[in-house]
Amino acid sequence: MSRRVVITGMGVVSPNGIGLPAFLNALQNGTSGIKFMPLYEELKFSCHVAGMPDFVWDELRDYISEVSFYGLKARGVAYGIRAALDAWDDAGHQRETDEPHWDTGCIFGNSIADTEAMKNVIAKVDHKEAKKLGSRVVEQAMNSGVTSYITGRLGLANKSITNSAACATGTQSILMGYEYIKHGYATRMLVGSTEHVDTYVFGAFDSMRVLSRKYNDQPEKASRPMSATAAGFVPGSGAAAFVLEDLEYALARGARIYAEILGGATNSGGQRGGGSMTAPNPTGVTRCIVDAVKAAGIDPLQVDTVSGHLTATLADKLELQNWMTGLNRTKENFPLTNSLKSMIGHSLSAAGSIESVASVLQIVHGFVHPNINLEDPNPEIIELVGEKSLPTSMVKKEINIAAKANFGFGDVNACLIFAKFKN
């Protein structure tokens, strides 16, 4: 039997706000979380700005045991633990359990295990000091580190998967958790993704010449999706998590329900037809959107708002064209569309989950958040979708259905359809 899946808890560690109240406030006011990074200037990167959460490391003591805290260094793992436990608390679930939760699984994503941890391994091994590495390195250098910390802390004992699909990771992780409950394998799934863009990952992107470099002296202006002056993305760090539950289970326990996931889709453009390692095949993208809408059982014209991938590169216009085709729209009825990246940059694997929290908050509170740094929209984009569909200040509006998609290296696409919960 096919089940309905609802969202009962959310947690977020975003460059422009940690925790739901701060993040909501930042979304509604268009607050940027992009900061100047003196180290990046020193390292001779082209881009000297990044989206960094104001993360207070010591607050992690409220999330994990003292023994676990001691020796934890991986920032991506830390962001993920905080977002996941905040979501769990937010759903009203208890952290402590002696019996494993056999009915509850976890799908958490990341791009790369902690490279700072790996740097330590490489340095010690090369200095013939492997013996001094200790027991805490492997768990932070392995890709499944973040998932393992979360499942261990909460006793989650159903499917435990670490997902990685570049910039589509977060969206895809949520979809995988949704499908698992829908098909009856689990009652609850804790899903999400994390990313810490450290100097090594940042440097690799910097070298590709895809990062914003003209606004180093005005960090808050550096991320400019869809603008005429968009010239590359700003890397960001953070995490977000969701507690997904089988509707009947959620209703039986009287849970607060934020929204329902109606469906979604994930595919690849096969790196054909214009697609490559770094560029999406437009046919793959439109098929993904069409399939998500179909899986959700809605008419594409019912979509009230779109949260795009929209990173501030040449691909922005192509993406909007793909949404237009996928949702069967014209310039006249193109849905209100925004890019959270204008405020927080592109947090790679974490992007999909942080942006999904924004989509759900828009449904819950009835608004569409602004695109900041869009005072000079790209004329070709305006010609395509019209000025009114790209809000530059918050629009108060009832949102029944929100579409969210992300597209990643490897020509991977993932699209989700969120809806206001109606029983």
């Binding site: 045991s65 003292e66 023994v67 001691y70 020796g71 013996k131 001094k132 200790g134 027991s135 805490r136």
Partner: protein, 84 residues
């Protein structure tokens, strides 16, 4: 260093690896690291590394295997300090 002095110092080395602070405060030479202090067996290697740097000694594999309770830890540490 007397055995008591080493024991007092050892408490500081063990501190980050146990949440049972009461048991740690009351350790004797018979206290078992895993059973009594609930230390994760994987962390024994970290305790050895910390002890090596604290006392500036080197603890070989065979000696490390003996370090299961407080008394045997003190044995190994004082032995190695004597060698230095």
């Amino acid at each position: 260093m007397t055995r008591q002095e080493i024991l007092d110092e050892l408490k500081k080395v063990l501190n980050p690896y146990t949440t049972d602070k009461e048991a740690l405060a009351g350790i004797t030479e018979d206290t078992d690291l895993i059973k009594d202090l609930k230390i994760n067996s994987a962390n024994l290697v970290d305790i050895i590394i910390d002890a090596e740097s604290k006392y500036d000694i080197e603890i070989d594999y065979d000696s490390a295997d003996r370090m299961t309770n407080v008394g045997s830890c003190i044995d190994v540490i004082s032995e190695k300090m004597g060698q230095a």
